[in-house]
Symmetry: C2
Subunit: 468 residues, 2 copies
């Protein structure tokens, strides 16, 4: 996939990386929607591809050419199965092949499908211009100097690996790839390759922080780890630093080529108590060097909210590193860009220093008795409880209050507390109306990129019915 980030655009084609955890049905929908001409398939995913081709056959859709990426000798001989095998396919290429540069810098370089349903896939189109600028900006916010060593935990099918696929090459760096992400593998690779930088969804941070001492290895020089997706709870930030990581908090969406803002640490924060520092570090910060504007606007009036750290609005972006649009969906594109800004769907406040702080997803916010409750704020309190490994808060319908907060919690191994104890803990740290009224202990459903699937939890909370 790394090689194809260069080969495909250099052949004048558009790259469309697919999430390796999708099923055949979803893959077939994306192959049809993207009108893919060639499909490169890792040997471990061949059955998924076969299934997708079966789906395509049912609708009489012409399948793409299949190129198998085999690995090692124990693979079945590829020639019996598929017409092309990657390495031998490469051998048919010409060394004198002249790079097909884009005619316009606005030409597409890639299409990235956001996690969605089969009924209406959203293909986010990246341009060469945007990808160049976001690559540069991402290098800056990682603080990636010449010849970095990057450990891949961010999937390359996720915003083209936050554009670091191109970025690591631009800085003459080394890429360390892992088939599976585990704490011991992470520590092992850091020690073995002198990793300088890595990325990771909050779930990766969580995994590292909660790893056993046996799995951990001493980190000789600080590893910069950039995290995005959702704001890291202060407790996790603190623990990561103790383990030898320097955490940078990024924020963005597939529509902003991955990172769009980052939380630059201010020198004056250093004298603050660690708890206070971690809170500040969990902010989404300011736009990076490649982005024209990020701001918090009232989505109805399109006016900027005051920078008071209190007034909520929607995070909106504009500039070169915002997508060209959704592929073959001008209606969704128009909606997303209503009023000349890209609407993120995230709610946030703007602090007096200009730093933004995401308070919730527009669709996640809970309205209880007319009061807005930020689920992120409640989750942060839950994470500060020593027994809590993971937590997610959603709305539970309520006849009296409209909605009440409902927490889904996974406890750390060896801990055993009950719902009431956790509710009381939250009441001790939050206004009463914000504390969960319901706590359910269970495994949390996640997407392949580590995001908690709140829509599943919302369905569960809905099924519970009203409390009052």
């Amino acid at each position: 996939m790394y090689e194809l980030h260069f080969a495909v655009p250099m052949a004048g084609a558009v790259l469309c990386t697919l999430n390796s955890r999708l099923d055949s049905a979803m893959v077939s929908v994306l192959l049809a929607h993207s009108e893919a001409k060639i499909l490169f398939v890792d040997h471990g995913l061949l059955e998924i591809a076969r299934g997708a081709f079966d789906h395509l056959a049912k609708t009489n859709t012409k399948p793409p050419i299949l190129v198998l990426i085999s690995e090692g000798d124990d693979d079945p001989s590829p020639t019996n199965i598929v017409p092309y095998e990657y390495e031998s396919f490469l051998e048919t290429g010409h060394i004198e092949f002249e790079i097909k540069r884009p005619k316009s810098e606005w030409d597409p370089i890639s299409v990235n499908y956001t996690s969605g349903t089969t009924s209406r896939p959203k293909g986010v189109v990246y341009s060469h211009r945007g990808a160049y600028l976001n690559t540069i900006a991402t290098l800056f916010l990682h603080g990636m100097q010449s010849m970095p060593v990057y450990l891949w935990t961010v999937p390359m099918f996720h915003c083209n690996g936050w554009c670091l696929t191109w970025g690591v090459a631009a800085q003459g760096g080394t890429n360390i790839c892992m088939k599976n992400v585990s704490p011991s593998k992470i520590f092992e690779n850091i020690a073995l390759h002198n990793v300088t930088h890595m990325g990771g969804a909050p779930t990766v941070l969580n995994m590292i922080v909660n790893s056993s001492v046996r799995e951990q290895k001493r980190i000789s020089s600080k590893v910069v780890i950039c995290t995005g997706g959702s704001p890291p709870p202060p407790q996790i930030l603190l623990k990561m630093e103790e383990l030898g990581f320097s955490v940078t908090h990024l924020y963005g969406l597939t529509e902003t080529y991955g990172p769009g803002t980052y939380c630059v640490l201010k020198p004056e924060w250093e004298s603050l108590p660690p708890e206070e520092q971690s809170k500040l570090k969990a902010r989404q910060g300011t736009q990076h060097l490649g982005l024209q504007d990020v701001d918090i606007l009232d989505p109805v009036t399109m006016e900027k909210v005051p920078a008071d750290g209190k007034t909520m609005g929607e995070v909106m972006f504009r500039g070169n590193t915002v997508m060209s649009g959704y592929f073959k969906d001008s209606k969704a594109t128009e909606e997303a860009f209503k009023g000349g800004w890209f609407h993120s769907g995230d709610l946030a406040v703007k602090h007096p220093d200009g730093y933004i702080e995401v308070t919730d997803r527009l669709k996640d916010i809970i309205i209880s008795g007319g009061e807005n409750i930020s689920t992120i704020q409640v989750e942060t309190v839950l994470y500060s409880h020593p027994a809590v490994l993971e937590a997610a808060v959603v709305a539970r319908p309520d006849n009296h209050w409209g909605q009440t907060p409902c927490a889904f919690v996974k406890l750390k191994e060896g801990f055993d507390i009950d719902a009431q104890e956790l509710i009381l803990f939250c009441r001790g740290h939050l206004p009463h109306y914000m504390a969960p009224k319901t706590v359910i202990f269970e495994e949390l459903p996640r997407t392949s990129t580590g995001k908690i699937q709140k829509y599943i939890l919302r369905e569960k909370a809905k099924a519970l019915g009203s409390l009052s």
Copy 2:
């Protein structure tokens, strides 16, 4: 000047910084040519400005509005002399002033006059787009991470300070400015402000290397120093590293916004002997991330020379970080861009690894008995002699050979050697025909940016007449 790098473009105007060592006559020519509307003048240069205004009056040219930048209490009361004084002028501004952004990213941001004659000033036009991209690229090649401390020895009127005026701000850095550059001031500022980066023409490196131990201060953590203008002799590179500097060699012209290429050190060089390393580090290297192309072409056929490290051609550039053109001089612009590339006027070879190495200025090369002699190569040998402080080689006309190499040399204090000794030394390290036939000991004439003025030396050599 630093503030004006932001204020002027944000007011929708074009910045034109003038070399502070120009005389009144030259300043008046540039004021007229640039059609400047406002002239900001440091109090120390007020007399030059007055003189320039007198020149303008003689040709009935309307002078620009003058704003005096006064400093300290001992200045003459500015109101008696000029209509505006900088600080009080600023006070008349409005805090709500809305930034006037360029209509097109190709709109000019600045005009930089190259050192030329009064008869035909060359105003190099920079665009917003080019300046943005070169700023970013310059940050990368300096390895400037968040919040650097930059010591200014590069004049800000020189390619807008290699675009680092904007660059240091982009990284939230600290600017350390000096009125006058001296070794003791350099070491003092490094120690006082924990300088992380600085720049400097070879003359600054020379100054540092040849400073007395009394002037030097211990450098606690490596200072990255970027040098351009002419390739630093290996001996100077070596000595700089011993003193605690990490030298990066840049190359470019005013027409390429300052740095266009840089010599990235390769890990495999580390095992080479120091002398060999220094030779490799003196190469001009490869293009930076903001430039589309640099290559060595035959200026007649416009074909690329082979990457054999031997075949000479002219260094040519193309891309976003090459000037928009010469202001009000379409003829010179056309000439400079003949064949779709910007012609640098520098001769170079391309090594098999793609690194370029400048061998001479097109107009500096000596042709003796039909053989090309690279003056840089001869100068490098001269610099390796322990008694030589500065050296420059030019052509002396010759009835028999056409031209012969003539060296102008300044010796280090306390050294006394004669021409014959130096000629023999060169013969020991070069083919005989390349060794200087004439050596003249004297102070070398330099431009304000530290470049040796070879045209003055060429005139002197010409006046000597033929040797044979």
